[in-house]
């Protein structure tokens, strides 16, 4: 019995006023959906309803796109770039002011631990607006020609794993480059996007520059297929990404896609072992493993396998699973019943295919969607759990003998979003990085994000980059 049991340290929810229901944010105000239909959004940690969210149909989408177009033509395209930037600076500052409110709301709607929304999601979201505010009047220096032009109206569809952060990754560069936006948040996590609408109002952002339309898959499809959209940005599964690419093929629409991954986290025998173990844990258990770039395949050099697994298991026993509002929680709730079912299904496949499952002892709450942190050892390349994206707190452990073998195994996937490399030998970091077919490579660290650092994948992990100088070109038509 550990005498030092941490008592509950709950973050208060008083700072947030969740409305009973929300309309669609179109042309600077909230309006009821034309169908009059709403759908519930719940707290995945308790399964209790938080609010009713408007279900936008194609008529609503049409109105939003038209508002964005009008705002583009009449206001936003005429505005001096420095003034555009100032709106983004204002938004960044207001997000910083209201950071706690956003963090609590994000945790309620998404299920992620308050520590993560407070220390990672929200600060990074504000930083993205701050960073892109500075680009608005400097686009001629961004490598896109001397007079790059925006596309016009962009349609953006974001996932449920980092709702507010993904919103920032989409809206900040779009606005900075002079586009106007129609954004559809994920159906299970719309609340922080709707609160963001209030930030736009507080910042005085002209009506129609940002429009937020909530809904389900059909809403997204309506947005993608709307003829008034010049460019689409999508983050989500590879499956849906391919559907989008299919539906716009042959049209004039530009598109960027940020899709799935099955990243290899390579631990060489000369790694700083304790920090590498921390990197493994961070790589797959951060955000409940709901991360496209998660280090979901541990590739550990065979000669240190036992040492690493012993330390890893001891470390996993310290992971605190529970109430996301508790400041000491490390692993929160799985975002939805559907996602939990998928994780369970793939884990059962792991069992069936002969891999060995291990989780530390864990008391999971009765209500809500939960999955204990899990590792599978004895995994081979052909197992489903080595090939398919689980998108949960499940790590598949494979081994390698030589650096060349590590590369072969790491690259042996249709995905190519990210990878991790752990070694104290500099030349080996650079060699490994040069051989890995992945868009983001973390050496001696993992899951680090920054607005200045371009993010995106090779192969079936998508098209294009977000963040940094490179991320701007997604939203600009180059000149000269």
């Amino acid at each position: 019995m550990n005498p030092f049991e941490y008592a509950p340290a709950l973050e208060s929810t008083k700072i947030v006023q969740v409305k009973d229901h929300y309309g669609l944010f179109i042309n600077g105000k909230f309006v009821a959906p034309k169908s009059g239909k709403y759908f519930p959004t719940i707290n995945p940690a308790t399964e209790k309803k938080l609010s009713d969210i408007a279900l936008a149909n194609s008529a609503d989408v049409d109105l939003a796109v038209k508002s964005a177009r009008a705002a583009y033509i009449k206001v936003w395209s005429k505005m001096p770039p420095a003034e555009r930037g100032k709106y983004l600076f204002r938004i960044a500052r207001i997000l910083q002011e209201r950071a706690r409110e956003f963090a609590v709301l994000e945790t309620l709607d998404n299920g992620k631990p308050i520590r993560e929304s407070r220390d990672t999601d929200i600060p990074l979201a504000a930083a993205h607006f701050f960073y892109h505010a500075g680009w608005a009047d400097k686009l001629q220096y961004s490598g896109n020609g001397t007079g790059p032009k925006p596309y016009g109206v962009v349609g953006q569809i974001i996932p449920w794993n980092f709702p507010m952060l993904m919103l920032a990754w989409k809206i900040a560069p779009a606005l900075a480059t002079g586009n106007t936006v129609v954004l559809k948040p994920a159906e299970t996590t719309s609340l922080t996007a709707l609160l963001f609408a209030d930030v736009c109002l507080q910042a005085g952002l002209p009506a129609g520059v940002v429009n937020i339309i909530t809904g389900e898959g059909a809403t997204g499809a309506a947005l993608v297929n709307h003829p008034g959209i010049d460019k689409i940005a999508f983050t989500g599964s590879t499956e849906v990404g391919k559907l989008i690419a299919t539906s716009i093929a042959g049209s004039k629409k530009a598109v960027t896609l940020e899709l799935g991954g099955k990243a290899a986290n390579i631990i060489y025998d000369d790694a700083a072992i304790d920090e590498a173990v921390e990197g493994i844990v961070n790589g797959i258990f951060f955000n409940q493993g709901h991360v496209c770039c998660a280090g979901s395949r541990l590739l550990v050099q065979e000669n240190i396998q036992d040492e690493v697994l012993t330390k890893l298991k001891n470390r996993m026993a310290l992971i605190r699973v529970g109430n996301p509002l508790d400041k000491n929680t490390d692993l929160g709730a799985i975002n939805s019943a559907a996602q939990l079912a998928k994780i369970k299904e793939l884990s059962s496949a792991g069992d069936a295919e002969g891999a060995e499952r291990w989780s530390p002892p864990c008391i999971l709450p009765n209500e809500g969607f939960w999955f204990a942190p899990t590792i599978f050892t004895g995994v081979s390349q052909s197992h489903r759990i080595a090939r398919e994206e689980i998108f949960g707190p499940v790590l598949s452990v494979l081994t390698f003998r030589t650096p060349q073998e590590a590369i072969e195994k790491a690259n042996n996937t249709p995905y190519g979003l990210s990878a991790g490399v752990w070694t104290e030998k500099g030349s080996k970091i650079l060699w490994t990085a040069s051989k890995l077919r992945a868009g983001v490579i973390w050496a001696n660290t993992f899951n680090k994000f920054d607005p200045a650092s371009p993010f995106g994948g090779y192969k079936e992990s998508g098209w294009g980059r977000e963040g940094g100088k490179h991320g701007l070109s997604a939203y600009l038509k180059a000149s000269n």
Partner: protein, 311 residues
């Protein structure tokens, strides 16, 4: 045998230790510093921290009056509240040991050991004969704990055998009379890799405790340093089944700092170390802040420093 105490054997072993990634270690320590310790766990932690304090005075200006006052505080930290535990030890220079021991015995502090700094503390720059005499003076005067310093000059110039031998010989002098804490002076070692190496050197040579600092050099007991030392004792236990203690000293000034240290112990080494037998905190001003926080938990409002004694 892990090493055979020759220079080559030591050097070879130390080379096999994995490196510490500084950024990663800082990140882990930083994450553990966000643990929010409230209500019952906070009360427990405050009392545990009090019982782990090596209440310290190490000034050139120390007098019998100063030391006896400290001893009174050590036995009864809060004059108005007898439920407050006594501290873990009283820590003084060796010529004050006799005075401290006598006073403690007189006022009901028989169970509180006197720890003495020794071996030409704080610099460690003296002949071995002087260091040995320093140690024996303390033991003969009644010290049950010896806090020695390693020879940092020898360590930084690669003479690991010398560092090792000194610790072995001082440990011999301690015999069954005293337990030995070995001060690494991590502020002078600078890198976390050195902290790891020095920790192992001390443990292999027979240290009962590894201690961060003399308190005379900053930085002292920073979280990443303590983290690396806790990893060392954890891994050493896994290798040898010998449990060695850790003592951070210097820079731990308030309750928040102390609780952060206990969280580190809890999550890096494990709850087996959460006892004065295996974790001590070298401090002086910390005690009063712990008392103020304890009063706040008890009474529900913040106290003023006027309500704790300055001894």
């Amino acid at each position: 045998m892990i090493v055979d105490s020759t220079e080559n054997s030591l050097r070879a072993f130390l080379k096999t230790l994995p490196a510490v990634d500084e950024v990663g270690a800082h990140a882990r320590a930083g994450m553990l510093a966000t643990r929010s310790i409230k209500t019952t766990s906070k009360s427990w932690a405050i009392d545990m921290a009090i019982s782990m304090i090596d209440l310290t005075t190490l000034e050139g200006a120390d007098t019998p009056g100063k030391v006896t006052g400290l001893c009174a505080k050590a036995v009864r930290p809060d004059a108005m509240d007898p439920t407050v535990p006594s501290v873990g030890a009283v820590c003084v220079y060796n010529d004050m040991v006799g005075i401290a021991r006598k006073k403690l015995d007189e006022i009901g502090g028989k169970s509180i050991p006197v720890a003495a700094v020794a071996t030409a503390f704080p610099s460690g720059r003296a002949s071995f004969a002087v260091k040995a005499q320093d140690t024996m003076d303390a033991i003969n005067a009644g010290a049950a704990e010896i806090d020695m310093v390693i020879d940092r000059g020898a360590f930084l110039s690669g003479r690991y055998g010398e560092v090792f031998d000194e610790i072995v010989r001082i440990k011999e002098l301690c015999g069954t009379h005293a337990h030995l804490k070995v001060i690494l002076e991590t502020g002078e070692l600078v890198t976390l890799d050195n902290v790891r190496k020095a920790s192992y050197l001390a443990m292999l040579a027979g240290a009962d405790f590894i201690k961060t600092s003399t308190g005379k050099v900053t930085p002292a007991a920073t979280a990443p340093v303590v983290l690396v030392m806790l990893e060392a004792v954890r891994d050493y236990y896994a290798m040898t089944k010998i449990r060695i203690g850790v003592k951070p000293a210097g820079g731990i000034r308030n309750t928040k700092d102390a609780i952060k240290q206990l969280v580190l112990v809890n999550e890096i080494a494990g709850s087996e170390w959460l006892t004065p037998q295996f974790f001590r905190i070298g401090a002086s001003a910390l005690l009063n802040d712990l008392l103020l926080q304890r009063m706040k938990m008890r009474d529900g409002y913040y106290e003023s420093p006027s309500y704790v004694t300055l001894d």
